[in-house]
Symmetry: C2
Subunit: 325 residues, 2 copies
């Protein structure tokens, strides 16, 4: 199948790598809203202007949209679903029902498939939540994120006066994870579940105490958490904190038996060296599913919750039965 | 939806509990090949002879078949698929393709749905393997079982001369799990991955040394593993080892990036107080999916790999979008 990538940042490069390595896919083109001449792809795949994407309608089976959830995807995914089968990683949980409805209307009108929210949360973590809930309807689910870099929290620190650069790690509290595993069904505050570790480069002459205070008291972002702040040099930040690792766990603790006499724990954990490259890899697998659904004549919006797992797989149904079931 | 249970052992009782608690299901009847008068269900659900099951064709939407994989399911599932939507937990991995073909032929001819192999391995572990492989096509997957009771291995010990009773636990080797998590892609022997712990009640005057030797040298079952044997009294066995806990982990360690420069680990772990009750709970969720597929007019054999995750869920599509994605 022939894949287009719309938007070429970290996730776009992750998709490029995944598509290039997939034996059943080829990368037709990357589309950018920047000057195409200014964008060089890692693999040498052609770069075209986003405005020209309509001219590639017959050359592309699925467009993977690698824009931001705040301002890009809400209009890009419906717009592109009017012409192509599309995939996105829309991750603004509160707005998912509206985004789904918008993509569904566009895709149904055009006879295309749009699979939204195909990252790891939402995405694979959503799958873990739904499968665990189906097996253990009586129980409690918990999601822990990290240890990993939160770009939103890193950006929030960078906007503070006197900050040159920053990197923030979200860290699950190990004792909280253990409490869930023990089957005790704890009720947590935000502070109970996650710590926030901040590595900050101060500008020359900046008031470090004031920066630390501004971080630790920032509402929503840091105030509800135990937060540590360490000032380091730009060199140390570049050397030790330039990656984008992430991960986390979905846990469900629930009972079986008429008298709820048996306790059970289901746990799904990701440990990722690179958040955007793993997200890109899931997006590529989702493109395979979109192509198959489209080939069957289906149309409209979907999430991974609507897609048979085998549709994501490179392997045939017979191979899955014989070797992976 | 109205559920029938065919076969009333441990798993049948697990299904009974799950169906009784599901707000969208009712248990129509339990079918047994024993004398129905000799079987009392935990919930008081009616018991009928297996031979009468055909008379309930219009009263039941899905039959959950709770027989053994060795001698029951190979004929029962195709036989019942000729009259009902059916679910089973067939777990003889090597024979799955043949069983699938047999059920598919019967179900297609009858216009029914048959979802096979709906336990946790095969079943939820299969899902974990396929999702992990789709996200990380370059990598290695590992399945660890336990700590949990293996009924097959316990039975094998009971057949040894001088043994009154026995319970065998399969135990993953912690260092092996850690090696996989570290991303080192180890190649394991059977001995590297699992230990076998045996608790044995010897008959009066039996030769314990001979029993221990017979266990440890038993081909396939124990010889390829580090095995410990502890002799205990029947009272201690009953008191400490009467449960059927189980669980385990599916792990995949794989790379992303054009140069495979990023390592990632995906881990799915189950920790179950009761193997048959958890299996029963998955079978009930699968019955929900079979009913929905059947309502859509689909027919033929399926596995959980073919079923959209949302079909297993009690919650509506809108609820899943708003609260679980």
């Amino acid at each position: 199948m022939r894949i287009g990538i719309a938007g070429y940042g970290n996730i776009g490069r992750g998709v490029e790598a995944a598509v290039t390595k997939a034996p059943d896919m080829e990368l037709a083109a990357v589309f950018t809203r920047r000057d195409p001449a200014s964008v060089r792809t890692v693999t040498g795949a052609p770069v075209m202007s986003y405005d020209e994407i309509g001219s590639m309608k017959d050359e592309i089976d699925v467009v993977i949209i690698c824009g931001g959830s705040a301002t890009d995807l809400p209009w890009m995914t419906p717009e592109l679903a009017a012409q192509f089968n599309v995939i996105d990683s829309f991750d603004n949980h509160a707005n998912i029902p509206q985004h789904f409805a918008n993509v569904d209307a566009a895709a149904k009108a055009a006879g295309t498939i749009g699979i939204i929210s195909c990252g790891w949360d939402p995405g694979y973590f959503s799958l873990a939540r739904v499968y665990a809930d189906a097996a253990l309807p009586e129980g409690d689910s918990y999601t822990f994120w990290g240890r990993g870099v939160s770009q939103g929290h890193s950006d929030a620190i960078r906007r503070i006066d006197g900050v040159a650069d920053a990197r923030q790690y979200t860290v699950p509290v190990p004792a909280a994870v253990e409490k869930v595993r023990s089957g005790s069904h704890p009720v947590f505050t935000a502070r109970d579940m996650h710590l926030r570790e901040c590595y900050v480069v101060a500008k020359e002459g900046a008031d470090k105490a004031a920066i630390e205070e501004a971080i630790k008291t920032m509402p929503n972002y840091f105030e509800p958490y135990d937060t540590t702040v360490e000032f380091i040099t730009q060199e140390e930040l570049n050397e030790k904190h330039s990656g984008l690792p992430h991960g986390g766990s979905v846990l469900r603790s629930g009972s079986t038996g008429l008298e709820a006499e048996f306790n059970n724990t289901i746990e799904f954990t990701l440990d990722l060296d690179s958040n955007p490259y793993f997200t890109g890899s899931i997006l590529a697998a989702a493109a395979r599913a979109a192509f198959r659904l489209s080939q069957e004549g289906q149309s409209g919006a979907r999430t991974l919750l609507d897609v048979p797992p085998s549709y994501l797989s490179l392997h045939s149904g017979a191979d899955l039965l014989a070797h992976m079931l």
